[in-house]
């Protein structure tokens, strides 16, 4: 104990307020000034950082927008030409009208689908963390579980959905289960890979500081797995919407999949197109949200900045 307190005094020798050694701290100030001349101006760094953010905005958007506009025009042209019956290929204008007409209905179904997707996704995030940490700690578990996990991912979602409905009924349970089954895999694999890539020297450094296993996860393994987890989450977010829609096709009272089945059966193809576009927009929005979130939470991760 005596040693420790002695050393703390030694540490405080570095600080300017140890006034009892005035001459020495004067010398020290000169030393600090010398060292400081080595440092680049902090202003320069800031500027550099700013220009990178500006670079991110410089990604050219207009080629894809132009192409999309051209395709929509072509679509409008084909449906107006009368080559196909209007009910088989409704024009974009009619799709927009259908969307506006059913807007409040669509929003109600959207709410149900989003809730199912959110529940399934949240469960799969939790499961991914638990499973990945367990597998990271046990080679036996990793070797025994990995092939089975891979196998489960080869089962087509559409084949699984009706079985789940038979087992669990028409409520939310089979839908959330299906979303869970399709979503946890990319995140588990992402996390496992991230844990394995954690720098062994960084782990050793923490051990030399006396860190325990929990602290090694908290300070090294989990943060270094975050970029891989974010990529997994992006994939899973799109899976969650698709999974919800597929499971709603097979029965249920509400949800975008239910709406989709109804309008298909009544040959309202304009509404069909409207809901397809809504589902796509939803997936794109979710991916954008995850990207924004990960950039926010991981300002150090340069791979998430498109310009660098």
């Amino acid at each position: 104990m005596r040693k420790k307190s002695q050393n703390t005094t030694a540490l405080s020798n570095l600080l300017p307020r140890s006034g009892n050694k005035k001459q020495e701290s004067g010398l020290w100030a000169a030393g600090a000034a010398r060292v400081n001349t080595l440092l680049p101006r902090s202003g320069n760094k800031k500027q550099e950082f700013g220009s990178r953010a500006a670079g991110a905005a410089r990604v050219r958007r207009w080629p894809s927008l132009l192409l999309a506009a051209a395709l929509v025009l072509l679509w409008q042209g084909v449906s107006m030409s009368g080559l196909l019956p209007a009910f088989l290929l409704p024009s974009p204008v009619r799709v927009v009208f259908a969307f506006a007409e059913d807007f409040s209905l669509l929003m109600r179904h959207l709410g149900v689908t989003l809730l199912e997707a959110a529940c399934g996704l949240a469960l799969s995030v939790a499961a991914a963390f638990v499973l990945a940490i367990l597998m990271d700690n046990s080679a036996l578990l990793r070797q025994s579980v990995t092939p089975i996990l891979l196998f489960t991912q080869t089962v087509p979602t559409v084949a699984l959905a009706p079985l789940l409905v038979l087992w669990m009924g028409y409520g939310a349970a089979p839908k959330i289960t299906l979303i869970f089954l399709t979503c946890f895999f990319p995140m588990t694999i992402g996390l496992l890979g991230g844990f394995a890539q954690a720098d062994t020297d960084a782990i050793r450094l923490l051990q030399s500081m006396g860190a325990d296993r929990r602290q090694i996860y908290r300070y090294i393994k989990l943060p270094s797995a975050m970029p891989a987890f974010a990529s997994g989450l992006k994939i899973s977010a799109t899976y969650s919407i698709v999974g919800a829609v597929i499971s709603e096709w097979l029965g249920g009272a509400a949800g975008l999949g239910v709406y989709m089945t109804r309008v298909r059966k009544s040959y309202s193809f304009d509404k069909m197109f409207a809901v397809i576009l809504l589902v796509s927009a939803l997936s794109v929005a979710l991916v954008a949200l995850v990207t924004r979130l990960s950039r926010r939470l991981m300002p150090w991760d340069r791979s998430s900045h498109p310009s660098s």
Partner: protein, 252 residues
């Protein structure tokens, strides 16, 4: 008198073959001792043992006479890479040893903040490591190591990644810091001039498995100025060291 830090007859094997064999060395309080040798003689392996993150197959490690073999956290250790965690700010990197000991983040930050000026890092507390120059990264890693708050500090090639000019400035700076913090330093280098500039004693580790083949004391007072480094005494010491390394190389 018991030395502040020592290891006795340390042997560490990998897959049955010894990597370092029967290594003994001592570090007196306030001293600066270097371990000099070519790449691949097990210098880093030895340091893992001395830092307690690895256990030797034979021999023991002593701190003020107390055995600390295989016990981590008793001596401060800086590995060869700076190992700043890219996802933590410089300040949060520096406080890592404190929070691992159970200190709250706020208190640890308050404790560490005043050291940024003497370490030449003022204004960079909230920057991320990738925004720092090589010399600054090294000083940040040193600050973190110093905040482990042990009297003995082990540095594995702390300056080897820096250019020659920055390295020379860092030598003067480090000697000053070590003196003020009353640190006793054991460091690894493969640079003969660096060993002569910094240390009181140079241990030469050579061969396969690595053994200490020579111990050379450098009596000149520190910090050593240009006049000493260009003197005949210094040239004589350098010649001794180079001879010892060459002799070991020829023996194999």
């Amino acid at each position: 008198m018991t030395p502040l830090f020592a290891c006795e007859h340390v042997t560490r094997c990998y897959e049955g073959a010894p990597v370092v064999d029967d290594v003994s060395l001592t570090l007196p309080a306030g001293g600066c001792v270097s371990l000099l040798g070519p790449s691949g003689v097990g210098k880093t392996t030895l340091f893992h043992v001395l830092a307690g993150v690895d256990t030797p197959d034979a021999g023991r490690v002593l701190l003020s006479g107390e055995e600390i073999t295989g016990v981590a956290g008793r001596v401060s250790y800086m590995l060869q890479k700076d190992l700043l965690l890219e996802y933590r700010t410089v300040l949060d990197n520096a406080i890592l040893p404190l929070v691992i000991r159970g200190e709250t983040r706020a208190r640890a930050r308050a404790h560490a903040a005043p050291f940024f000026a003497p370490f030449g890092l003022s204004g960079f507390e909230r920057k991320y490591p990738y925004q720092l120059s090589g010399g600054m990264r090294q000083r940040a890693a040193l600050l973190r190591t110093c905040l482990m708050n042990n009297p003995v500090i082990l540095l594995d090639e702390p300056f080897s990644s820096l250019d020659a000019i920055t390295r020379r400035q860092m030598h003067a700076w480090y000697l000053d810091i070590a003196d003020r913090m009353q640190l006793s330093t054991l460091f690894i280098t493969h640079d003969v001039d660096e060993a002569i500039t910094l240390s009181d004693t140079v241990y030469i580790l050579t061969g396969k498995p690595g053994r200490i083949t020579r111990q050379i004391d450098i009596p000149a007072p520190r910090p050593r100025d240009k006049a000493f480094l260009l003197s005949l005494d210094c040239a004589q010491i350098k010649q001794d060291i180079l001879k010892a390394i060459d002799a070991a190389a020829n023996a194999t």
